[in-house]
Symmetry: D2
Subunit: 321 residues, 4 copies
Amino acid sequence: MIKTVGIVGANGYTGSELIRLLAFHPNIKLSFLYSRSNSGTKISDLYPDLTTVCDMVLANKPSQVDILFLCLPHKESQNWLSQNVVSDDTLVVDLGNDFRLDGKFADRNFIYGLPEINKKNLLGVKSIANPGCFATAIQLALLPLAEKGLLNEIFTTGITGSTGAGQSLQSTTHFTWRNDNISAYKTLTHQHVDEVLQQLNSFNDKEVSLNFVPWRGDFTRGIFTSSTVKSDLKLSDLERLYREFYEEAVFVKVSERAIDLKQVVNTNRCVIHIEKNENVVVIHSAIDNLLKGASGQAVQNMNLAMGWEERTGLNLKPIGF
Amino acid sequence: MIKTVGIVGANGYTGSELIRLLAFHPNIKLSFLYSRSNSGTKISDLYPDLTTVCDMVLANKPSQVDILFLCLPHKESQNWLSQNVVSDDTLVVDLGNDFRLDGKFADRNFIYGLPEINKKNLLGVKSIANPGCFATAIQLALLPLAEKGLLNEIFTTGITGSTGAGQSLQSTTHFTWRNDNISAYKTLTHQHVDEVLQQLNSFNDKEVSLNFVPWRGDFTRGIFTSSTVKSDLKLSDLERLYREFYEEAVFVKVSERAIDLKQVVNTNRCVIHIEKNENVVVIHSAIDNLLKGASGQAVQNMNLAMGWEERTGLNLKPIGF
Amino acid sequence: MIKTVGIVGANGYTGSELIRLLAFHPNIKLSFLYSRSNSGTKISDLYPDLTTVCDMVLANKPSQVDILFLCLPHKESQNWLSQNVVSDDTLVVDLGNDFRLDGKFADRNFIYGLPEINKKNLLGVKSIANPGCFATAIQLALLPLAEKGLLNEIFTTGITGSTGAGQSLQSTTHFTWRNDNISAYKTLTHQHVDEVLQQLNSFNDKEVSLNFVPWRGDFTRGIFTSSTVKSDLKLSDLERLYREFYEEAVFVKVSERAIDLKQVVNTNRCVIHIEKNENVVVIHSAIDNLLKGASGQAVQNMNLAMGWEERTGLNLKPIGF
Amino acid sequence: MIKTVGIVGANGYTGSELIRLLAFHPNIKLSFLYSRSNSGTKISDLYPDLTTVCDMVLANKPSQVDILFLCLPHKESQNWLSQNVVSDDTLVVDLGNDFRLDGKFADRNFIYGLPEINKKNLLGVKSIANPGCFATAIQLALLPLAEKGLLNEIFTTGITGSTGAGQSLQSTTHFTWRNDNISAYKTLTHQHVDEVLQQLNSFNDKEVSLNFVPWRGDFTRGIFTSSTVKSDLKLSDLERLYREFYEEAVFVKVSERAIDLKQVVNTNRCVIHIEKNENVVVIHSAIDNLLKGASGQAVQNMNLAMGWEERTGLNLKPIGF
């Protein structure tokens, strides 16, 4: 039976990306798109690539639906849920960071929606906290080591496309500044560090520390990370460890060959590659920040919660070039 | 019933893009991928984005299939058909330019596969000449005028992404040269001019001339064209003319608002926008050169020839950003 | 003797580019940088590449100088000159479009500062209207034909980098939108058309028309144009005509080989290339929009007005790659 | 008195960049440009941006000069010096890595040409080993700590433009692949690691280790690095330490504000920024890989060896945007 879906904050990047995915999802029907600032506007006037794909008008208030996606600025999901009535039967998927560290809110208990660790816990749940983009890329690179208690101190550099900064006009998203440019931001203090550590420490019995240097990249989509750790395991053992850990992960691929960012752009996949020199291990990972790092993972979580095949609506043609 | 498909020249850009599309097409099964130069190699080793999507090994010879795509360098399709046995029942879609101007070859008669003019003629045919990329973008911008006999002299500038130049390494596809660069090539002599004129003149009773200046762009995917012509029709009449002409064209959108290239990247769509000042008309059009300009249109043609819904396998998530 | 220089509107793109040039000019000394909106700020805090090159503080009012550059939004130069006292002895170079079409203003008579046509008239003048960026690129491509009365109707497409749109944050200068994108704007109605026609018609005895389609490019610096005209002259005669016309133009190079945009980026040069097929001629030209198209040409004009060697301060290392 | 200069390997990226710099250097005259593979060709036919700047023909053999630059692939400088006669009075600046780790060769003793540590030793020398590009960026970020013996283990990520890979056509320099892409290469094994450690260990009394992850960036010019180390010093003390260390370094700027790559593109400068959280310190640095990372530093070394002002010929207009 077709389920009804509503999107709150449909006018942003992650909201519109959800529409691109859900427009062709066979099990759902979009009931409403809500935006406080753009109500009355056709979504395809804001995002012309959606013309004929989805020409719905942004509503000025939500209605009851089976599945609700919250695509709001960080900290506004709590406000929204407080001020609006949502049925207990409605599956709520929050793409913000309000419920990632502490999932309890009123009668709901948000589950951290990283399917690669929580797949079995997602069936039937009604509240999902969708992970952050950098948090997804870094965790997927490190979880197999965490599960075995092999992590100590981690040194990670990650680079993100401009869509990670959202649609507001900022000096650091001005084309003239950003084209051909690289810069660091939130050095050692990025908000995803706590999110990553909470998950890693739930596995790893020793305390893990994460020194994370995020960079702004001169491209629109994607995240590439390299994490350096120490390990005495042989490379082949590490690779086997990763393969086993991700055996049932349909969107994660551990590659024996070098990876690059464009292998995953416009897909819901994560690719991982491990290298080793003496006792130093570097794990590279790449995702599309708007898909596996946000809206694609949200659909994956919805599929698992609803009991649908995990890949439904996510068989996306890669950009390739 | 599932039909079998073979791709000759599967290791090139248009060949691999076909695989990206056909891997998820519900009515077909890939039987073989053929490449003279890379036989024995997994296609996903050449194009890692295909890993787990399609891990077939490139064959060293073709086999009999229901549908055959030829993705060969220009002029090599004829050689290939001469040297290999292809059943008369096999649908052959040629992505090269061997049969666009003259479709007769042995017992086959290739139909020009631009669905926007030939949709009704494609059902059941066994031989289709898939149009060129620039030829598609320019024709779609001008066909409504041609049909009414309103064309005289046309001045077109078009810009193409680097994938239009293929995968061979050339000085003009070196990143260091091409990044942030613009240049003209084949000024007034591009091979698609004859292809466009043959189609336009088949409609237009006056002789049409086309002055075409192609540019190389500093992006990978897409074609954007602007064609300047003279007309006494009012803008609103022109827009109505275009809308009527494309009423049944599921992949063409005549936009009243300004268009931009990224609206169509990673889709099979064409967007068109018309502007007018005094008696001068400019028609802009945009396509993804590898999709509506090549492999996507080839799938569209296959769908029409086989009697399948035209959009099957072509509901693609746009890149958006 | 060292001359004093002031820049009004020093905080914009053309203003800051002037500083980059003048910081190393041997004949001048920067006296003041003026900006209404940023007074009190160090220019190197706005443009960190200027650190140690020029760390002057933006002044809140101008002072008397030998040479004054106006880098204001269009139409504000008139206001500024009305509201401030500028000595009759001061050379004023206006980079806006206030005085390009009509140079008379109070007691001043602005000369159109395109050195390739006005070099001999510039020595000793006190008022110079610096040409527009597209206007420079298009005129340099067509002036040799205009001088011989060979122009009729012109069809030009030009593409510009994002710096042409200035430093304000706009949806069309958002990196996420502009990267890998192409779009048209001000089709047939760009403000530089009148400027070009006024100059071309002052040479050409027949009335000239210009159909100009400007495009936004996905790069920061540069303009590339292709102009299509009709001519019965042989290509070799056209090339000789251009060479002779530009014999004394130190910054214009007529190339027998294909040109590309990056040949001129970060230089004050213009490169031109001519191609012909039957009676159709295409002339390509390329400049750096901030240099030959704005601040570089302003310095060139200053040099000529002051009687200095034309290239002083303009021997710039090209970006090359 | 004007000195004569020869360039061996003038047809490569670093060779042509040297020409761009030396063409306007007031103290030298280019005597010959040598290239084995392109002798007889005008350098401006290979690099059209050099037209009218330098139209010399590539020679098929060198001649005696006062100053000789070797711009050869790594390991070929030794061969070249063995097979050609170079006067003992000739200053030889080698841009390859042949003499960086061991400067003794025949009667010559190459000095490591990083002016920020060796400025006083360079006057009058006849043999200079020009540092590597990544090696320059990383050392400048770490030398002040090394001098005080404060370094232990270093974790560095660096990203380089495509010019770092040279002019040969490779799959990783194909525009279609590299545009919008990020990838890692030579993880933990880059050839510059030994070069950096040799210098750092010559200062630092404790053994230093360097875990270096190099990335390929989707831009042409520039290197950006972030190095993570441990320190108990306060941020303000670190900043003072760096300022004092670089007090006489005319091309190094320690910035209190965030830096970005384009601040240094097309200049010979290095910018450095330090951040700290608890006891973890991150030092960012940025250079233009072809200038401070290669040809610009070579000119700086020449200036110092010849007793000329260090900045002669290096007052370059930044790209800015």
